[in-house]
Amino acid sequence: MRLIAEGLAGERGGESVFSGIELALEDGAACVVTGPNGSGKSTLLRVIAGLLPAAAGTVRLEGGGEAFPTVASASHYLGHQNAMKPALTVAENLGFWRDFSADAETKSGLGVDQALEAVELGRIGHLPFGYLSTGQRRRTAIARLLVCRRPVWLLDEPTAGLDKASERRFAGLMGEHLRGGGIIVAATHLPLGLEGTVELRMVG
């Protein structure tokens, strides 16, 4: 599977924020997008996911087969917001995304309990999401990446709010995902603790 971006340009409110982005990521490759605030990191991720139209250029996925015809269908998008409901419990939130996102081909993700164990939140599955701390909320959102297998992870500031131990654990999860043939595009200021990554510097 290859994630390819050619001559990609993005704009916000009619103003160009970046242009001419070239990217080609094979199975097991990670790309870290860095750059100052407002340089278009989040916009780039949203354009790749298909949430924003590209001003120019194309993004496509090669070799996805029938299960993953488009980038959006192959991707987990982890944005600034955690996409969880404060009124539902952590387990209900994850269970919903597992049931909603999975279909026959992709039902190979972890169970809700296992995913919570993987982010070391095993004992708080019964609590309403609204009761959690910022870091615990982020870890729950990270557990969402595990309950349904998707080859491409698009991560926007994934470690925001995490403590050192959680950052290391998340680096481990990303490492596993890459070893399993996944692709990661992550926008961040902080080093993610991954080796052998491509760096894409946005200059703004």
Binding site: R46, A49, G50, L51, L52, P69, T70, A72, S73, S75, Y77, G79, H80, Q81, N82, A83, M84, K85, P86, A87, L88, E92, G95, F96, W97, D99, F100, S101, D103
Partner: protein
Amino acid sequence: MWALYLRDLRLAFRAGSGALTGVIFFLAVIATIPFGVGPDLNLLARIGPAILWIGALLSCLLGLDRLFQADREDGSLDLLVLEADRHMPALTVLVKCLAHWTASVLPLVVASPLLGLFMNMPAAGIGATTLTLLAGTPAIAFIGAAGAAVAVALPRGGVLISVLVLPLAIPVLIFGVSASYGAVNDPEPFLPPFLILAALTLFSAVVGPVAAAVALKYGTD
């Protein structure tokens, strides 16, 4: 899809969701009318179906602004839109509408016979009005979804949604009320306006979600 329906229902019945606001508003409107109109029982019985319908229509509009906005604020909407290849966006919207209808509008229909008594309506009139509300209110939810999707990015979108949706919901009101009158006033027919009402619901069940899905797709930023 079933998971989405169940999630939205759960959310509606958990604390702080405001799903019951509509019923309480409906109750407040209908309970006030007899005091304003005065104790003319014949007049109350005559305007009863129309008042129930207008009350239900306005109550339906109350919760609409949160239909997509709540999902947008916590980022869920992005993920729902991204699932377009697995779940047709219009179908996702339809399921959300059905959950909204079950949680916020069905209680109005259930409460309407009781409120019909406040208006001194005859048993046949109460039955007919409840039936027309049951058949007609889904149309308001589907039309409302299109309005809610257009206004999803606006922080105070509630009024805009009402302005967008009310003109489109007027035919539903007209045929709903005329079918209710048809059931009690003899020369007027019941079945033709009722069937048109049902047709309006079916028509908007197709057009509303498709329009809302298009609006949501272009509304992401």
